[in-house]
């Protein structure tokens, strides 16, 4: 088959979204201080992670910020080999979902361990992470 003809488009789009975090600023500032916060609804007492400014369970906008201990157990995990374009510079990474002792679950990278040694049920800790470019995130490390 002949190579299909394409019009060489002269228009390129590059998008970086602004991500509003004013109402969850406590969470993002907490990460800078090495703390991982969840929110707890003052009305229905539902604990939310990731944190929320409004409780979808009962409709209240009154929430308390609760620092998580971070200890938990791996529920499931994977290792990503074929990566999205914006992660192309990363080596393969392990993503785990763990249930924390407070009852909520979290999804994050699991670092400091080879995938062959990761087991469902293994104990991990969710910790804040500050990158050298000041970007903040959180990750699991083995306990």
């Amino acid at each position: 088959m002949d190579k299909p003809l394409m019009l060489n488009s002269a228009r390129t789009l590059r998008i970086t979204y602004n991500l509003p975090i004013s109402r969850t600023s406590k969470f993002w500032k907490g990460l800078e201080e090495g703390k991982v916060y969840a929110t707890k609804c003052q009305k229905c007492e539902m604990l939310h992670f990731p944190p929320v400014a409004d409780c979808g369970e009962c409709g209240s906008s009154e929430v308390d910020w609760i620092e998580l201990d971070g200890e938990g157990e791996v529920v499931t995990f994977t290792e990503v080999f074929v990566k999205p374009a914006s992660f192309s510079q990363e080596p393969p990474y392990i993503v785990a979902i763990a249930r924390l002792k407070e009852g909520v679950k979290a999804l994050a990278w699991l670092t400091g361990i080879e995938r062959e040694n990761v087991k469902v049920g293994m104990r991990v800790k969710l910790v804040a992470k500050v990158f050298c470019d000041k970007r903040v995130a959180y990750e699991f490390t083995p306990l």
Binding site: T78, P84, F87, V104, L107
Partner: protein, 380 residues
Amino acid sequence: MGHSRFGDRSDVNLSELAFEAIQPCLETSGLTAKEIPYMALGSMGVWSEEPLPAVVIAEYCGLTGAGLVRCEAACASGSAAAFNAYSAVRSGQMDTALVVGAEKMRQIDTPTIMEMIGRAGYYMWEFENFGMTFPAYYAVHAVQHMEKYGTTEEDLALVAIKNHRYGAMNPLAHLQHEITLEKALGSSVIAWPLKLYDCCPITDGAAAVVLASETKVKNLGVKDPVWIEAIGVASDTANLSKRETYVGLDASVKAARMAYKMAGISPKDVDVANVHDCFTIAEIMAYEDLGFCKKGEGARMVREGETEVGGRIPVNVDGGLKAKGHPIGTTGVSMLAELTKQLREEVKPKKRQAPMKNYVALAHNTGGTGHYGYVTILRR
């Protein structure tokens, strides 16, 4: 109905591809484009240049003037479009409605496609910092299913082998070749434990079906109508971390329950099904979520050939998403087109025609990682 050839369709643009499905659909229905009052389009469209695909497709296919909508329910957009058009006809406002799925995914590079689909979980909490991909979202389900029920990587491969075998018989399929167990198990790891042959390909394709009211069907003199008996709809949390388990998709269970109740049938009445096998583990979970077997027995069904033609309930005997291909917004409509052929016993070659007892077919279409659940029941 109409159905384009699936695959790398760099030979056509989105409108030309949609025309390949729409024109035969209208012709076989005895209708002209000018007689269509409403079109619902399933399309994600982020990989092709037109932000308003329903409008450009309508103009290209002579449908301008009809009411239009583009429906988004991720990989279930085609079923969302079908539900939208079905509701328009059922309400009595429209006597006919066209359902179209059209997707051109191969106009951008693969890492950018992985990026666009990976973002389609909960962007803020799963992608921004953690770079989840679609294979990864399903891999976490595979890991837990294996842990809990003893499902193996070989079981997953058996799904791929089955669907490739039927894909090889389907001239419209993207991947028309059979594969071996060795080839499947030896393929490169995409998101452990899922390998290349556990994943559906990136596909261009279009499909179309016409829906009509009972009165219109009589007036048109349609000889062999296939009826939508029910469409069940449901959803699940955006964050995977908020789900109870990862061994099934709750949106599928709920949508199926709604559809079975509405149609007044049970899973054992289904003669043939198309389920959402975007990844091999997804087909095994679908057997269980749809009630074709008990929870945890999905792998046994594929091991024992129960979902082959001649088995208890043939599943994805057109190749499924795995081999026919998965043009995101088209898939739900493609399922309806395939199952219409199955119900009319028109499938060629006969080797992939499911035997009919009750003339009942089921389409299961999932959007996102079980975010959107659609189950449609057809009857002839």
